[in-house]
Amino acid sequence: MSARERAVIAIWLAVLVGCGAWLWARLVVTTDLSAFLPVASTRTQALLVQQLRDGAVSRMMLIGIEGAEGVALAQTSHRLAARLEHSQLFGMLANGDPARLAADRDAVAQWRYVLSPAVVSGRFTAPGLRAALEEDLDLLASPLGALIKRTLPEDPTGELRQLAALLAGQRGPRSQHDAWFSADGSRALLIAQTRAPGFDLDAQRRATSAVRDAFAEVAPPGARLLVTGPGVFAAESRQVIARDAERATLITAAGIVLLLFVVYRAWQPVALSTVPVLSGLAGGLAAVSAWFGPVHAITIAFGAILIGEAVDYPTYLFASAARGEDLRVTRNRIAATLRLAFLTTACSALAMLLSDFRGLAQLGVLTMAGILAAGLTTQYVLPLLAPASGFPRKAERPPFDADRVLSMMRRGSMAAWVLLAAAVLVIAAHGDALWDDDLGSLNPVPMAAKALDRDLRADTGAPDVRYVVIVQAPDREQALQQSERATTLLATAVERGLIGGFDLAARWLPSRQMQQARLAALPPADALQARLREAAAGLPFRDGVFAPFLAAVEQARAGPLLDRAQLGDTALGARVDALLYRFEAEWIALVPLSGVSDPVALRSLLVPLGASGVSLVDLKAEADTLVAGYRAQSLRLIAIGLFCVAALVYAGTRSLSATLRTLLPVVAAVAVTMAALLAAGQRLTIFHLAALLLVVGVGLNYALFFNRRATIAGDAERTLLALLVAAAATLLAALALAASRTPLLGAIGTTAALGTAVAFATSAMLSRKRP
């Protein structure tokens, strides 16, 4: 071994050990789903994405119990709630049990004079009180008297009725046997909020298992538990992704080792083939970890495909070696093609690497660094590790007459053009329906889980909010004040039928300013007593019956203002947290709107408040522009990537026709794969694009090697054998991924498998005839 060769080995070992050490010390795996949410480009988008990650909504858990009759379900719901409360893992916990809402009712009753919008000064004058008392008398005469009689002495002005109507206005699930049920009565429902934030996946997993364990203890036979929510999704999809990734990697590794052994019938080349693969994986993962910090589990799963791709390079090298040939000689013979192959593949990952999508960019870095590492190792290190006398080998050629098959395929080159034309037609016919605009499709959560989530959401009456008024203010008090100002306009909007209703934090936690104004409307004790006496003159109320009212008003006047701490773990407190939160240096108040009929009129109605940080946001439109923006960027990047690849191929071959011959099969493969996916009723997401880029990478290898000029006897057969093995390895890896339960990994796998097969076939069809 020359000094130069020793230096190469030393450098390789140093880099490998460095990567290994880095991964050992620094590798952090994340499954934060928001890595696959687009990075927001506007502030509004940023605060929506942040809310998805760790807002109050992300801590919500919806629980359904089914598979027993109503009373048993209700009983299970109550027992489950009691156990969960005991676990201390949950803050708010609601299942429709009136006893469980007692804390809410008490809070509303205690703070009614700062909460009720009806508390204005006119209400507490003698005429105002008179009107209230007359209404009370009418209510007493009606069957509803039974409902108000108990609270009348402390609340003759009906603030509790006002607030109860507001509470009832927020449609909850239907109640039966003191528990919430789905509309058809087949499912008991609970809503819980974890104390831990949504992104703390270990805590979310503990909370989910706490629910499952508690259910197992209290459930009657036959009853089933359904749990959903962002935290549950995150925790469970982490497990699924990890399992899928592990399985795909194992299947791929085992399959490829078997395949190589069948071809080489010797352990040495098989073992040596793993050297570039492992170097590629180590280099790729270390690069991702160094660049991004935490590595996403999906990136690691993608590593399985990288194995399938990286193993191509040692295969090209080993299979191209003539019997007894020193691999250094083989390497020198195929060096130009090999170098071009891994450079173009690495280059095709450029589009992903430059994406703003953190998840996609990770896949790009992994592919680029991994392929470069594998390619360089194959080219410079592998020949030095192999014995100088070459390997003993059995298979020299494919197990069929390669010449005949290849010339048959070349005769079918017309078919490739027809296929390409047909694919272009299919893609054109789908036009606008090409892309999946649903942000949800980017979520790596199994479809069944998404459907369950949708069901439970509909059951609990949690509305799918599309329009929301967003208030941004420097502090909590101002956020509340601004949203209260918006309330006046929104009430007008309700009257004019522009919207059905709205909800806001200030309803249950009014600004201090508003609370003070309400308390100022309450007269001092002696004045109130005098006015009440005047108001009750001639009415049949017994003397002194309203003493509790006088006491309650006086207590409210003297008492403190309501703040968040006093709402504690009540459902109202949870609602306030969901609608009012801190974001970076600001406070955000969300006002979700329901039943919006005329967004344009609504927007113009809210214009006067625009200057004070109040804006109307169409969440669907925001999400759509977010996704569309990414798509546009991705297509642009793909174009740049393809251009670089074309330039590389031209630089390597110095021939326009060779460049075309190399690029055409790849273009055809991408087009045919897209067309096939569309014809199968799928819509394309950013992950299909990632997989197609992968197809471009391997397709270029095939085209390059199919067109490599044979220089020694038997070269062509050996190259074809190498190509067959390489394609089989990639196909194996892609199929292993296609079989995973995570839709995102499945989509990548299916697309890659289909594309690899088509790229291989078209490369063969369009390859140059041998002289």
Binding site: L140, S142, P143, K149, P540, F541
Partner: protein, 191 residues
């Protein structure tokens, strides 16, 4: 040894006669269930701890089988209450307001609504679901005594007595846990 069987036959023969002498719950329910609809005038007198004199309410009642009951109050204040199934809608004409409640959520309201609705429909199963039911008197002067079973219901209402003649209800007395009491007398008015 023929006396035994003879005595048994005699007892068996007499049994229906004994039973018919007593007015049975099932018979009352049949009578009530046979009424397709009814119209009446009512006067309700409510004695309440809150008030220093009884509140007197008068108006009309309309019942349509199986579960629709309307109560039009004419004095002291015009008001219409429509009960369909377990839904109670209160229209306050003077204030131009209308509110709908589900009685299922309010035990006190549920007791009032169900006692009357199930009685008028002759629905014994529904009555017994919510109340311990006993019948006193005979066919031309009966009184149905309903005591709530539900713990929450009994915190509001202790007992409901519904009196009537044949298939028509003439009097409703409600004793509340608070000591408040309401007596409604009903006069048929087929107009």
């Amino acid at each position: 040894m023929t006396r035994g069987p003879c005595a048994l036959a005699l007892i068996l023969a007499l049994l229906p006669a004994v039973a018919s002498a007593e007015f049975k719950l099932s018979e009352l329910m049949q009578l009530l269930a046979a009424v397709p609809s009814a119209r009446a005038r009512f006067t309700e007198t409510k004695d309440m701890a809150l008030l220093n004199k009884p509140l007197v309410v008068t108006g009309r009642l309309v019942y349509v089988r199986p579960d629709r009951l309307e109560r039009h109050v004419l004095t002291p204040n015009e008001e219409r209450v429509v009960i369909v199934g377990s839904e109670v809608t209160v229209e306050d004409r003077a204030r131009g307001r209308s509110r709908t409640f589900s009685s299922a959520a309010h035990p006190a309201l549920l007791a009032l609504v169900e006692s009357l609705r199930a009685t008028l429909a002759g629905d014994l199963a529904a009555l017994e679901r919510h109340f311990a039911v006993t019948l006193e008197g005979q066919r031309d002067a009966w009184t149905l005594v309903l005591v709530p079973r539900d713990a929450q219901m009994i915190q509001a209402i202790v007992r409901i007595r519904i009196g009537g003649v044949d298939g028509s209800v003439r009097r409703i007395e409600i004793d509340e846990a608070s000591g408040d009491r309401s007596v409604t007398s009903i006069v048929e008015d087929p107009r």
